[in-house]
């Protein structure tokens, strides 16, 4: 088990979590955090070269392989970022050492939970993992103990638990659907077996199950109208957590949704999940695009932009077809890299400006050129401008959609444009114009941010063939 990379990916965070819970001292713990995540990342990288055989509980295939590596990578960079960020927080006393300890431990638990959700082959296990991740983030969102933070955490908690319940019901239904075909016992919850036999399942049960799963996991994905927790959670938690939330947790939840979409795709009699996902995707996109306009808190704004992009991705998968699915997968990857990079920038911006109010920021490219231009680059990327990766995926989504159903494409384009205008309206006030607000200083670590952006840029110009190969395989299975 320990030789198995999967085992390592799961064990390292657990051990690290225990260690960090026990050890005092900022420098040391921060270092351990970074090292642990780095180790996890390196192990995960090894998955590219050899995949362990699948067990009833764990498996690695084309779909989750990429996402495991992505998750561990972003986890690693975020830990680097958080080392500098949390240091600053300690200095200004927003965070006490005890909470720091708690924070680091929770961070590792979160990593563990997400990796578990990704490698899980058992849908029950996946459910447990995702809920664990949710609860951890709830605790971390509330970590500042300000009224707003608690309130955000509470909201997240309540809505999250309802989501949990719905998702569980869906999972049970899947089991019920699988049981007559596969027989009682754990096998009926093993995804690989399920997907292999899905053709014989009872379509009505599958449909019902999917509805519940869509709402249950959709709450985690932050699709409108289930999104309510997301902006508050992002704006109130520590920025590294916002980065992980937007960059990873949403992805993981969406990943779970995809797994079940595959089940339905494998069953011809079941209703096509496409229309549901398309509708929810478009609603989220357009809604979030309009919500961007009135935002005055920088982190909230980018939280809404996350909703927007989740909408785009869900839409893409809903449209289905080789191109759209490929685009969706690409978009998931690009978005998690870009959005976490943006949050790295935003975190430091909020620190140097001492506020999250957009009104109190201005002329950032003047006062803090590196940070400012980093943010500009990030927004340029997230807005889907070339030559960065998101342009590619949006290109594929829009073109492939318009040829098939022009009307939907028009709505999509409308949403994109509205969101675009809003993003840049804000960016112009933050990054350009006369410098506003106080400009303090921070020992920022720019490496993570620029590493992400560099990756996104590279992907925009050149996509490595193996990655493309995997994505195309998955795209086929996704139907």
């Amino acid at each position: 088990m320990t030789l198995n990379p999967i085992g390592a990916v799961l064990l390292i965070p657990v051990i690290a979590a225990m260690l960090l819970a026990a050890l005092p001292g900022y420098r040391l713990t921060a270092r351990i955090n970074v090292i642990a995540t780095l180790a996890t990342f390196l192990v995960a990288l090894s998955l590219f070269f050899g995949r362990p055989s699948q067990t009833p509980f764990f498996h690695v295939d084309d779909l989750n392989n990429v996402f495991i590596v992505l998750t561990t990578f972003v986890g690693f960079t975020t830990s680097v970022f958080s080392a500098s960020y949390i240091g600053h927080e300690l200095e200004i006393g927003r965070l006490t050492p005890t909470f720091l300890r708690f924070y680091h431990a929770m961070y590792q638990v979160l990593m563990f939970a997400m990796n578990l959700a990704l490698v899980a082959n058992n849908i029950g296990l996946m459910w447990v993992a995702i809920e664990l991740a949710t609860l951890t983030t709830v605790l971390m969102v509330g970590i500042y103990r300000t009224h707003e933070a608690l309130e955000a955490a509470w909201k997240y908690f309540i809505l999250g638990s309802v989501g949990i319940a719905l998702a569980l019901f869906g999972t049970i239904l899947i089991y019920m659907a699988g049981r007559p075909v596969i027989g009682e016992g754990a096998d009926a919850m093993v995804w690989t077996i399920l997907v292999a036999r899905a053709g014989e399942f009872d379509p009505a049960l599958l449909n019902l199950a999917f509805v519940f799963l869509l709402l249950g996991y959709g709450t985690k994905v932050g699709l409108a109208p289930l999104h309510a927790w997301l902006p508050d959670a992002h704006s109130e938690g520590p920025t590294p957590i916002s980065a992980v939330l937007s960059g990873l947790l949403l992805n993981v939840a969406l990943y779970a949704l995809l797994r079940f979409k595959m089940l339905l795709a494998a069953n011809p009699a079941a209703l096509a999940p496409g229309p549901l996902m398309v509708t929810m995707g478009l609603i989220s996109l357009v809604f979030a695009a309009f919500m961007l306009y009135r935002r005055r808190d920088i982190k909230r704004m980018f939280a809404y932009s996350s909703i927007e992009h989740m909408g785009i991705i869900t839409f893409a998968f809903g449209m289905g077809g080789a191109l759209a699915n490929f685009a969706g997968l690409l978009h998931m990857t690009m978005h998690s890299l870009t959005k976490s990079a943006i949050f790295f920038a935003v975190g430091h911006v909020a620190q140097v400006k001492g506020t999250q109010r957009i009104a109190d920021m201005g002329g950032l490219t003047e006062t803090h050129p590196v940070l400012g231009w980093g943010l500009v680059l990030g927004v340029v990327a997230i807005a889907g401008l070339p030559p960065l990766g998101i342009f590619t995926s949006e290109f594929l989504v829009v073109t492939s959609t318009f040829a098939r159903s022009p009307f939907l494409a028009l709505i999509l384009v409308f949403g994109l444009l509205v969101g675009f205008a809003a993003l840049f309206q804000r960016l112009n006030t933050i990054a350009f114009g006369e410098p506003r607000g106080k400009h303090g200083d921070t020992h920022a670590s720019y490496i993570p941010m620029f590493a992400h952006l560099a990756l996104v840029l590279a992907a925009g110009i050149y996509l490595p063939p193996p990655l493309v190969g995997w994505f195309q395989n998955v795209a086929k299975v996704l139907g």
Partner: protein
């Protein structure tokens, strides 16, 4: 070979951009970056000219970039080659100009890195041979130019300009995205080769045309999508303004030509109606807007709108003739359009250089504070004058030639079978004539108020002649304007392969014609000889001068201005830009811009000055853009309430979603 050369240059330019980030602070950066750009542009220019004149066959390059299963395709044919020439000629001059002008830049770090990137992007657009690469370069071009517009971001208008520009740009890109989506089909045949071979249904191609017109038009500045142009072009540093106005709009024209003439096959007759109507209106409105401006650079930007209109008239006519299989006429119209592309890129860049020189000498863009600069900066004044004459379509300069050809194309229109076109085209012709006359009026104003008369402000009276690099750039282009004006035959023949490749026919060979004159169709029908007219004028002018000086007197005495005997008044009594345009404003403005003049005349004995206030309304902005913005803000306001629901209410949203989905399931057949 050519494609490879240009690609390598583009790559080097991108590297240069990266490098510029590093050394932007150093004093050498300016000369280095612009020098390098100049050299690379010249290389591309050479390659382009060689390919165009050598009549080389189209060549393709495919790189394993972009979409992996497609790759990045690049192809250079006559059309691309021609636009490479246009682009890199403009770039070369702009870079040369900037070697000197760049020293006045207060924020070089915000200009130097983006300038080469912008240039590279423009070159890549015309080379691209698949939808993805095309749009990527296209949008990258917008992005880099946006960064340049934002260079002087301390001025609030510039930030707003950047905002409008980028939004309009991405609007255009999305339109093109949709167009290519249609052409490529659901399973993504994105390469142009595939698109050429796929023959979509007429309805689809019509839709594609509209989308292409929207997409390319919004970048070129076709009404009513021009709004960003007069904001963004002046905001950028002048050499960039020159590129944006003189070259980038041409890249947009390229996009339109590529899609409509090359990719989507046979046009339907009514397409040209759409294009021509839009183009005619663009023409007239553009120049009317320009007449109302006091800001020199904005005035020039609006004239870009006008000239884009002229170009699109040519293209529209070509479409019409092509639709009815009159290839020879189509060739004439298209040649006229493309020739105007070239000419406009010459004199518009030249004029923006002049404006830049004035700006750097006086820090003043508002003409009302300028004047008398011809005394302070005579060479700039001369070059600018040539530009003004050229853009006002005065023989024997180049602007006239392309407009003359356009008129010739218009005069063929009666042979079109369609009644709609027969009636539309003369009307468009009238609009064209009107805008030509108004353009002349406008440039009398521009030159007269800026350079002639007496200085209206301290800045103007303290101005100095600009540096020699800028002057060289200006004079090179001024000369080119003259050459292209007196030897148009050469340029028309150079354009022949382009037209041939797109329409399968070309204008008659011009170089053979006696006395180097040009004959669009037949000598009996019409002909023009710029060279001869030029020589006539020179000779007769000289004759008159010498004769008078010999036979009559050549005595001259300086004295105070006569001015009907009024004592010499202050420079403020001169005609200003506003007062010069007043008659035209009263004729056209009262209708188009709802121009209202209110005079506040103090009662007798009151020493306060009387005030004349002029109120103008931009009809298009008011009719189109204000409502849209209002709608968006309204919707945002409304939806924003969803931000403040209670947890219970959010839960009820979830609940509602669940119930609805279950209902869907229940009702599912």
């Amino acid at each position: 070979m050519t494609a490879a050369i240009v690609l390598v240059c583009a790559l080097l330019l991108l590297l240069l951009a990266v490098g510029a980030v590093a050394l932007a602070r150093s004093p050498l950066a300016n000369a280095l970056v612009y020098g390098a750009t100049l050299v690379l542009a010249l290389i591309c220019l050479g390659a382009g000219i060689a390919h165009l004149l050598g009549g080389a066959a189209p060549e393709s390059v495919a790189l394993p970039l972009g979409l992996p299963w497609i790759g990045a395709h690049f192809r250079i044919d006559a059309l691309s080659a021609f636009f490479i020439v246009v682009i890199d000629l403009g770039v070369a001059a702009a870079s040369l100009f900037a070697v000197g002008y760049g020293h006045h830049e207060e924020a070089p770090a915000r200009v130097l890195p983006f300038y080469p990137a912008f240039v590279a992007a423009m070159n890549l657009v015309v080379l691209a041979d698949d939808a993805f690469t095309f749009l990527l370069s296209w949008e990258f071009m917008s992005l880099s130019s946006w960064a340049l517009v934002m260079a002087h971001h301390h001025v609030p208008e510039n930030v707003r300009a950047g905002q409008v520009y980028l939004v309009m740009a991405s609007f255009g890109t999305l339109a093109l995205l949709l167009a290519f989506g249609l052409l490529a089909g659901p399973d993504g045949g994105y390469t142009f080769a595939e698109i050429r071979n796929s023959h979509p249904a007429p309805a689809l191609t019509a839709l594609v045309l509209c989308l292409a017109l929207t997409g390319a038009g919004s970048k070129a500045g076709l009404l009513p999508l021009h709004v960003w142009l007069p904001l963004a072009h002046p905001a950028a540093p002048s050499h960039v303004s020159a590129l944006m106005s003189g070259v980038m709009t041409k890249v947009a024209v390229y996009g339109f030509v590529r899609v409509v003439f090359d990719l989507i096959g046979e046009p339907a007759w009514w397409w040209s109606m759409v294009v021509l109507a839009l183009a005619g209106v663009t023409c007239a409105m553009g120049v009317l807007y320009a007449l109302m401006q006091h800001d020199l650079k904005r005035l020039l930007a609006y004239h870009t709108v006008e000239n884009i209109g002229i170009i699109f008239i040519g293209l529209g006519l070509a479409l019409a003739f092509k639709a009815y299989g009159m290839a020879w006429a189509a060739a004439l119209a298209l040649t006229a359009g493309l020739l105007h592309v070239f000419n406009h890129s010459l004199f518009k860049s030249l004029l923006f250089f002049g404006a830049g020189a004035v700006l750097s000498a006086t820090n003043e863009r508002d003409m009302e504070h300028l004047g008398g600069l011809i005394h302070r900066m005579p060479q700039t004044a001369f070059a600018f004058l040539v530009g003004c004459a050229a853009i006002s379509a005065l023989p024997p300069l180049n602007g006239f030639v392309s407009e003359w050809l356009t008129f010739q194309a218009i005069l063929i229109s009666p042979q079109l079978p369609s009644w709609g076109l027969r009636f539309l085209v003369p009307a468009v012709g009238a609009l064209l004539a009107l805008s030509a006359a108004l353009a002349a009026a406008c440039f009398v104003k521009a030159f007269g108020v800026t350079f002639l008369g007496r200085a209206r402000g301290a800045a103007a009276s303290a101005a100095h002649e600009t540096d020699r690099f800028s002057l060289t750039a200006m004079f090179v282009f001024a000369t080119l304007c003259l050459v292209a004006g007196i030897l148009p035959g050469l340029f028309i023949d150079a354009l022949a392969p382009v037209v041939q490749s797109l329409l399968g026919d070309r204008m008659p060979v011009q170089t053979g014609v006696a006395w180097l004159s040009i004959v669009p169709i037949a000598e009996s029908r019409s002909s023009y000889n710029g060279l001869l007219v030029f020589l006539f004028m020179v000779i007769s002018g000289m004759l008159a001068a010498t004769a008078i000086h010999r036979l009559a007197s050549d005595k001259l005495r300086r004295g105070p201005a006569w001015d009907c005997g009024y004592p010499d008044a202050s420079p403020l009594t001169q005609y200003s830009a506003g007062s010069f345009a007043q008659p035209i404003r009263r004729v056209f403005g009262t209708v188009v811009f709802r121009a209202r003049e209110t005079v506040a005349m103090p009662p007798p004995g009151d020493p306060r000055p009387a005030r004349l206030r002029v109120a103008l309304h931009d009809p298009i902005w008011d009719a189109l853009y204000v409502p849209v913005t209002h709608a968006v803000t309204f919707a945002a306001e409304r939806l924003n309430h969803l931000q403040f629901l209670t947890i219970r209410q959010f839960l009820s949203l979830v609940f509602a979603a669940l119930v609805i989905l279950l209902l869907v399931l229940a009702l599912w057949p």
